[in-house]
Amino acid sequence: MRPVADVLIVLALALVAASSTAAVLARDPVRQSTVLALLGLSLALLFAVLQAPDVALSQLAVGSALTPLMLLLSVRKVRRKGKEGGSHRNAGNRTGSTDQEGRR
């Protein structure tokens, strides 16, 4: 059992190293968010093979749905803000606007 358990630890550790490096290298928050989900999952697996199921459970609970949700909501707000600011600078007439009572 011992060698297999060690192999598992090494494997999980390598996965954490790989996914965290990828998370650092990803610059776009949207793309980073999927890598972060994988990083969370790898960390949970690492904690599980290190016999720390409580920590693994925390990581799973927070990392699998909550973190992506908060991250993507923030991205959406920031993008919207940028878009609004941009459209404002361009005198506000966006081309694709399909308002029912045509603006201006």
Partner: protein, 290 residues
């Protein structure tokens, strides 16, 4: 202080830390070994108090005061988020549009929501027996509720999420933890001491105060996360700048139907939607934040 002096201070501090860490690491027990001075004592104490999950015993019994601090961190984080992301006077709310979600996904969410909720409650209730506890289970419960946003739409979530109640539950969970700690003082021992009978080992009633503290943390975390996400969701879905009239297009949730949305306010004429047409900053009336 000059830049050079600051760097020196940093270097000395870093060097000291490195030396201490190295010295400490020499005394560490071997990796993966069976014996650890702290671990052995913690397990002994946990078993003496009939708590089969030793981690729960450490978190909610032996070092319950630490957990009080951690719980308060989340409480303060939720509080700070609510304050920072509140609706300011130059912002107004738009009504989120109904989402278009494939019917199987919607059906799945309606089935998965109670199941996830139950699993969350199970994790909270069995913190003293198996991996889990108030924090993990509370997060699962909060995620369960948000399935309604993820797979239905935001208005559906808002219908089952009276945010005031959750804010109150958040505070009540925090208060329950504090008061349970005070029970130790009343019983004549220390704050957060385990004063209840320990119960039968490996049953739901074991561990003395551990399950109760778990429940308090569960309530606090679940409602804290709901409140936290509510501020994020409001900002991402409902709240727009008042000086930008173009709240009609793609900013909301989904479904770019291009219909200018009437603000959520009743004294605003909804039909012709003159609300934000002219870009004056204070056109919409003051609305209550959250």
């Amino acid at each position: 202080m000059s830049r050079r002096a600051r760097l020196w201070v940093l270097a000395v501090g870093g060097l000291g830390l490195a030396v201490l860490l190295f010295a400490a690491s020499l005394e560490l027990p071997g990796f993966g070994g069976d014996w650890h001075p702290y671990g052995v004592r913690a397990v002994e104490a946990a078993l003496a108090r009939h708590t089969s999950n030793v981690v729960a015993a450490v978190n909610f019994d032996q070092r319950a005061f630490d957990t009080l601090g951690e719980e308060s961190i989340l409480f303060c984080a939720a509080l700070g988020t609510v304050v920072l992301l509140r609706q300011t006077s130059d912002e107004h709310r738009v009504r989120p549009e109904p989402a278009r979600v494939a019917p199987p996904v919607r059906r799945y969410a309606l089935v998965a929501l109670p199941v996830t909720l139950l699993i969350g409650l199970y994790i909270v209730a069995h913190g003293q027996l198996s991996p889990g506890g108030g924090f993990q289970g509370g997060v699962v419960v909060a995620t369960a509720l948000h399935l309604l946003y993820i797979a239905v739409d935001y208005r559906a979530l808002e219908r089952i999420r009276p945010i005031g109640l959750y804010a109150m539950a958040d505070a009540a969970g925090e208060a329950a933890y504090l008061l349970l700690g005070a029970a130790g003082l009343i019983a004549g021992t220390a704050y957060l001491a385990n004063v209840l009978p320990y119960g039968t080992f490996n049953t739901l009633a074991s561990g003395g105060t551990v399950p109760l503290l778990n429940a308090a943390v569960g309530v606090e975390v679940a409602s804290g996360v709901v409140v936290l996400l509510a501020s994020f969701l409001d900002q991402a879905v409902e709240i727009v700048d008042a000086d930008d009239p173009d709240s009609s297009g793609r900013n909301s949730d989904q479904d770019n139907s291009g219909r200018p949305r009437a603000p959520d306010n009743s004294d605003q004429p909804p039909a012709p939607d003159t609300s934000g047409r002219t870009p004056t900053p204070h056109n919409p009336p003051e609305e209550k934040p959250t």
